[in-house]
């Protein structure tokens, strides 16, 4: 799997006085097996970008290549693309509709035209991947808790066997434990099933903890594309863009100012702990 975003440009209200460039010359390469975070404040173009990756929106100029093929070329099979590029929208539980959990997850693969056995096998696998126990399979999805509903919604995308999974704020509205559980599951999927994951998030702490690479968008442009350490070291610039760094980054930068620690690039609690213990000569 390889996804190349090439000079992508998209304007809303094109040709009117209200025209806004939601994407302005965006270039990216997403490789197989990566865990990538996409951050940016509301209106920075994250969702617009994501909707180009499975051809829900058509760019004004530029294009996207999936495994070397231009997905906006005439005759390109967009339906199969949408199976390979799985998009989980915000609050995906609002899209649940079937009478039981199992049927819900069968819906996607069924639409791909697979035979019943394969469909059910995939649904079973997908539900296991998100950690849903058998006892819930024949319950109405509407009787589940918020976190469970969301896992079912994610399973219904996984059942399409996507090569890349794009999640738009998957943890919004979940409590801390629910957030950790869900993100741990996603990390496992990326590691064990080798699925590329693109995580759109507002939580800098989550992004710092889980991803290997961060893409920062602002005003329709990619401002940073680097490791969490590198990106969060620009916390002042991030603040200008309406974002922030994880709290520990600020703590370390304060300590650095007071002359206590030298290395201020930690972005997670564990990294910060190591840095501080080192400066007390305890590591």
């Amino acid at each position: 799997m390889k996804l190349i975003v090439d000079h992508l440009r998209y304007e809303y209200n094109k040709g009117t006085q209200l025209s806004v460039a939601a994407l302005d010359d965006v270039n990216l390469v997403l490789k197989a097996g990566e865990f990538i975070g996409l951050i940016g404040h509301t209106g920075s173009g994250k969702s617009t970008l994501v909707q180009h990756l499975n051809a829900l929106l058509t760019p004004d100029s530029g294009t996207v290549y999936f495994d070397g093929e231009d997905i906006f070329e005439k005759g390109y099979d967009k339906k199969s693309l949408r199976g390979k590029v799985g998009l989980v929208f915000q609050y995906p539980e609002h899209q649940l509709f079937e009478e039981n959990v199992f049927k819900e997850v069968c819906f996607g693969p069924h639409n791909l035209g697979l035979d019943r056995r394969t469909v059910e096998l995939r649904a079973y696998e997908a539900l296991k991947q998100v950690g849903m126990e058998d006892e819930y399979f024949y319950q109405s999805p509407f009787d589940l808790s918020g976190g469970q509903k969301r896992r079912v919604a994610i399973a219904s995308v996984l059942a399409m066997k996507p090569e890349i999974l794009i999640l738009d704020e998957p943890t919004a509205g979940l409590d801390p434990k629910g957030r950790t559980e869900l993100l741990d599951r996603i990390k496992t999927l990326q590691k064990e099933a080798g699925i590329t994951v693109l995580l759109v998030s507002h939580s800098m702490e989550d992004v710092a903890e889980y991803v290997d690479r961060i893409i920062v968008m602002d005003h329709g442009k990619v401002q940073y594309d680097d490791t969490p350490r590198e990106v969060f070291s620009h916390y002042q610039e991030l603040e200008q863009m309406g974002l922030s760094a994880p709290q520990v980054t600020y703590i370390l930068s304060d300590l650095n100012e007071k002359g206590l620690v030298l290395d201020q690039t930690a972005t997670t609690i564990n990294e910060a702990k190591d840095t501080i213990l080192k400066c007390f000569g305890m590591r």
């Binding site: 404040h41 434990k177 309406g242 994880p246 206590l260 609690i269 564990n270 702990k273 007390f280």
Partner: protein
């Protein structure tokens, strides 16, 4: 006098199957006692389904107790004649900003509440102006709410509540759907209104960082209040909070981890500043 006086509150609802037969009874709020004085800033924490929103809905008489009593500004929420007075003294702000704005223009939305209360036109405009100024949204008074960010919309929702001159505002996860900037804006507005206008604030949230400034924190689990105290007291019990599916501010967690590794830090560190000062002090001793 007490602003909010909840004693032995129990709320049960009946679960029914598709044919309307009773399946069972769920106790969403279980013997809760909660008291707060005028001008206090109270925070309620709890995971999804812990009963905190159900409790909140009792505070302005959207729900009525199965057992126990809820007094708001001395008025019983079971007394039907007082419902409108209660809702005027205790305003509510909900999670989704898009569900609570009704006006076409920001100032119209804020004026809607006082207008319904029969406030004279001239005073309505005065109230709109002061409320929008209080949340820092006066410059946007002629805007359409559609053109605002999530944080701005939530601040308009708060202004609409303030325009009714409540003594108390209940905020039910007001920042859950906002980005970090929007979250900061809303919390700043809430703190300012509490500090300056002395409006009692009851903040329900998942974000631990938002409650470090509260006077008192209540933690709910399975419909009961399981912990209460100052933020310092509550957040020093890291392990217990974790076992209740909650987590603690990053500064507190880092302090906890450092302490476990052998650094003699003080208990109850809540903010970045406290941790930094404490580490600098320790380093000085070495």
């Amino acid at each position: 006098m007490r602003m909010i006086d909840v004693s032995k509150l129990v709320f049960e609802y009946i679960r029914r199957d598709e044919d309307g037969n009773v399946e069972g009874i769920t106790r969403a709020v279980d013997e809760v006692n909660l008291h707060c004085k005028g001008g206090e800033f109270i925070a309620i924490l709890g995971h999804n389904g812990s009963g905190k929103s159900t409790l909140a809905k009792h505070l302005n008489a959207i729900l009525h107790p199965t057992e126990g009593t809820v007094l708001v500004d001395g008025k019983d929420t079971m007394d039907e004649n007082e419902i409108w007075n209660i809702r005027q003294s205790a305003g509510m702000v909900f999670q989704n900003p898009d569900n609570q704005i009704i006006g076409q223009v920001v100032e119209e939305d804020v004026g809607f509440g006082p207008e319904n209360m029969g406030v004279p036109t001239k005073e309505i405009w005065e109230r709109v102006e002061e409320s929008l100024k209080a949340v820092g949204m006066y410059d946007y008074r002629k805007y359409s709410p559609n053109k605002l960010s999530g944080g701005q919309k939530q601040r308009v929702s708060i202004a609409s509540v303030i325009a009714m001159h409540p003594k108390c505002i209940i905020l039910d996860e007001p920042t859950a759907m906002l980005d970090p900037m929007g979250r900061k804006e809303v919390i700043r507005a809430v703190r300012a209104l509490n500090d300056v206008e002395k409006i009692t604030m009851i903040l329900i949230t998942h974000y631990m960082e938002e409650v470090v400034y509260a006077d008192r924190v209540y933690v709910m689990d399975k419909g009961k209040i399981v912990m209460s105290g100052t933020p310092k007291e509550v957040f020093s019990r890291v392990e217990e909070l974790k076992s209740m599916r909650l987590d603690v501010p990053q500064a507190t967690l880092l302090a906890y981890e450092l302490k476990k590794a052998g650094l003699p830090l003080l208990d109850g560190i809540l903010t970045r500043k406290e941790l930094v000062n404490e580490l600098v002090r320790l380093k000085g001793q070495k």
